[in-house]
Symmetry: C2
Subunit: 478 residues, 2 copies
């Protein structure tokens, strides 16, 4: 008899039919005569209730069926008398597949702190919270691929190991096979990277954008979805040393097309979550509510599902950086000197400013455009004012910047001039400049940090809780 998944049993199971279910015991409770086992196999947040007539089974077998144990159950589905489920399984055959010593198994049926579960990341998938988070993470990854596939984009795997540090986006991890203790040296005493595996110094990529542009300027529209790396010593709830990014890049798109795509893309993924992950979302919404019970009412988050629906159903506000500066300088917190950082045209906005705009002023996702060129990357499209570039940042409530993008400068001369001004070594980037030499066209793109997006969709508060095995300073466990 084939095993059925619990998700399918709960959805389609008919009272009277015989089924086999396998899974892990979440809880066992009951009386002298009847045991109730909550069985979960990871296919859904919901458990299948197994009803065990104690008399019919060996005592030691039942004793070993503890939280965390794996069992196989054959039995008959019956309508449930209890609340909380429509159907339950009357056990006829029970097999213990693998026990879980209650004195040793860390994940007991009680509230564990997120810190404790992070230390047990190899087992935290077995909790309701983390199984919900990782099912949603899967669903969002799929929604992203589905979205771009339907739009005719091609998924491009840009390189992870790279010799270029041209973007200057952050500190990088070195990749090497040289003997770390006795590396070969050149005559003048420097490390001889020509003897390294790739014949030169190499690093882990910080972005696939530049290579993505090469693809877009031939295939039209591409996107990347891969790991990126920052060797920054940031121990915050928003930073990882290894994280996944989605970077679409599109030929023939100007800044407005880019904004339209970013907004449509985010809404489409959120719609997918609401249509496909409602049970997990409901669980996480309730979790968040419980988590914030102790907070004063005005500091609590919006209900998770309401928040997602709100983003889905409202146009994002689109304003320029210059307009944002005006709003901020006319704001109460600015006038009352409540902002920690200055608000001056030309300086980058800080998290407190972004949050004011999104959470207080507009109460809505905001797309900020046309930033001062001096705080943005060399490849951004230079506006005619000589001061700003065609950048766009999408700001989300609770998260801040979730997308950063721009139209790209397609004019070779302007790009080379800007690179010179910013000390970017053009000679190492000839391949990149070739796209501006040959058949250059208007094009745009953006980057979405996948984990920050998952934070938003799941309502989790720490980025280490939305990636399976987080990499952070001093931590590369599992």
């Amino acid at each position: 008899m084939t095993r059925l998944k619990i998700k399918d049993i709960l959805k389609d199971g008919k009272a009277g039919s015989e089924v086999v279910a396998k899974g892990w015991v979440r809880t066992k409770r009951g009386s002298k005569n009847v045991n109730f086992i909550a069985l979960n196999d990871g296919s859904t947040i919901n458990n299948l209730q197994i009803v065990v007539d104690v008399e019919s089974f060996d005592e030691t077998l039942l004793r070993d069926i503890n939280t965390g144990a794996a069992i196989s159950v054959k039995g008959e589905l019956v309508e449930s008398a209890g609340s909380g489920q429509k159907i339950e399984l009357n056990a006829k055959e029970l097999v213990l597949l693998g026990g879980a010593d209650p004195d040793k198994y860390p994940i007991q049926p009680k509230k564990h702190s997120l810190e404790f579960l992070r230390e047990n990341a190899h087992l935290r998938f077995r909790t309701n919270t983390f199984s919900a988070v990782f099912r949603i993470r899967h669903a969002m990854a799929f929604a992203i691929h589905k979205y771009f596939n339907e739009k005719g984009f091609n998924y491009l795997h840009t390189p992870i190991i790279t010799a270029s540090d041209a973007e200057g986006a952050g500190q990088m991890f070195r990749v090497s096979t040289l003997d770390p203790k006795n590396p070969p040296l050149t005559e003048d005493g420097q490390i001889d990277f020509s003897q390294d595996f790739f014949g030169k110094a190499t690093n882990l990529t910080v972005s696939g954008q530049l290579e993505g542009e090469l693809g877009a300027l031939a295939l039209g529209e591409i996107y990347t979805f891969g790991p990126t790396f920052r060797a920054e010593n940031s121990n915050t709830t928003r930073h990882l040393a290894e994280f996944w990014m989605i970077e679409p890049e599109m030929a023939f798109y100007d800044l407005k097309d880019n904004m339209d795509l970013a907004e449509d893309f985010l809404k489409s993924c959120i719609k997918y979550a609401l249509e496909n992950c409602m049970e997990d979302l409901k669980f996480l919404a309730e979790r968040l509510k419980q988590e914030e019970k102790g907070k004063p009412e005005d500091q609590r988050s919006m209900d998770l599902i309401e928040k997602l629906e709100f983003v889905l159903n409202n146009d994002f506000i689109r304003i320029t950086y210059t307009e944002a500066i005006d709003i901020l300088r006319n704001s109460k917190p600015f006038k009352k000197k409540k902002f920690q950082f200055p608000v001056d045209w030309g300086t980058d906005l800080q998290s407190e400013h972004e949050r004011y705009l999104v959470e207080k002023h507009f109460k809505c996702p905001v797309i900020l455009t046309d930033y001062p060129k001096d705080i943005k990357a060399f490849y951004m499209k230079q506006n005619n004012d000589g001061k700003t570039v065609g950048a766009m940042d999408v700001l989300f409530p609770g998260i801040g910047e979730i997308i950063g993008g721009s139209q790209r400068e397609e004019n070779l001369e302007k790009l080379e001039t800007r690179m010179k001004e910013m000390d970017i070594p053009a000679e190492e980037m000839d391949w990149y400049l070739d796209t501006r030499r040959f058949g250059s066209v208007e094009h745009s793109g953006f980057g979405l940090g996948f984990e920050r997006f998952i934070l938003f969709v799941t309502g989790m508060g720490n980025i280490r809780d939305v990636i399976a095995f987080p990499r952070t300073p001093k931590n590369a466990e599992f």
Copy 2:
């Protein structure tokens, strides 16, 4: 007026309608009075023919419209008089978006060698061959996600940077932020990795399997799809230092379930290619035919599309390693001492043996199972004979091993014993062994090398031609 993609124009365009198309010039030919421009925008292998009445346009403009230039064309669709296309575009407005100096642009309308295009990997997407390859690569990536999503698998991002070298699957790249010239040393003169970014020595992953098992033993069925790395000095047409792997891992699956999944999975992806990529496949089939024209007939490949249909429509042969050894020892090449490597029970099969089985003996994909335990990894399920393990390798014509997998040993004691025998440091893998301590169940999984699969589907001969920017010894360009 919105620009339409050439794919959509060729599919749905009606004679008499006005459209705007943008793209790159593949060729321009014609007479004194009429120019014909083949325009491609990457959305399809097919070009849109632009008909230009020379009199109506500026001479210098037309002179600058060369191969590789980007143009925007507004005009009226008309039925085509020429062969090869149903519809063409009569240009009314022509804009040169970006020129391409014919003296400098490397991709001219003539046959370029694959080696030359590899050196110009940043521009090779603009050729028919490579645009076809990378559209198919996209389609196969999507087919993989679609397949697993529909089966209820969860996509798991296993870590790229890892401190564990337990699997011993190959030489690894070291990841570090220590000063390479003056690394900190411990008192006894060793590199002090406790001062490194992660507080210990770290490498790039060779496989996500072990972490994948953690996910499967909670979520039921997971798959990975991410980059993996081998620091092997292999300069072959089959090896990359950086490549993408798909690794599904499933709780409650035995070896037969694993084989069934692998076969169904491969066939489902091939079916997707035949249903969604036929124009690109036809182009590549013809390319292959041309490529092999010079070869004697018996050394030519099967027609690409016939080959894909053949795999789709035939059951894979399933035999044990022991049976394979018997077949090989009774084969003509063995008796005539044509094999370079020995055929003895207990030694690994070489490519020549695998090819004999697949291409000569069975003429069909083959799944070999139950290999000698001493040539397989520690985690494989130990068979009752004490000699073999529940491994499975899927062998494909022209490619050899395309999938390697096994049932996993779920018994803690057996696993620990085997690890001791093979000198695997159990103390570093406590997290892995926890899955056998707590709720252990029968489970299985396999790995598919994505690029090898793309080689098979596209008929390309060199693995460097199916990944955008190949990483190989002494090469990390772009």
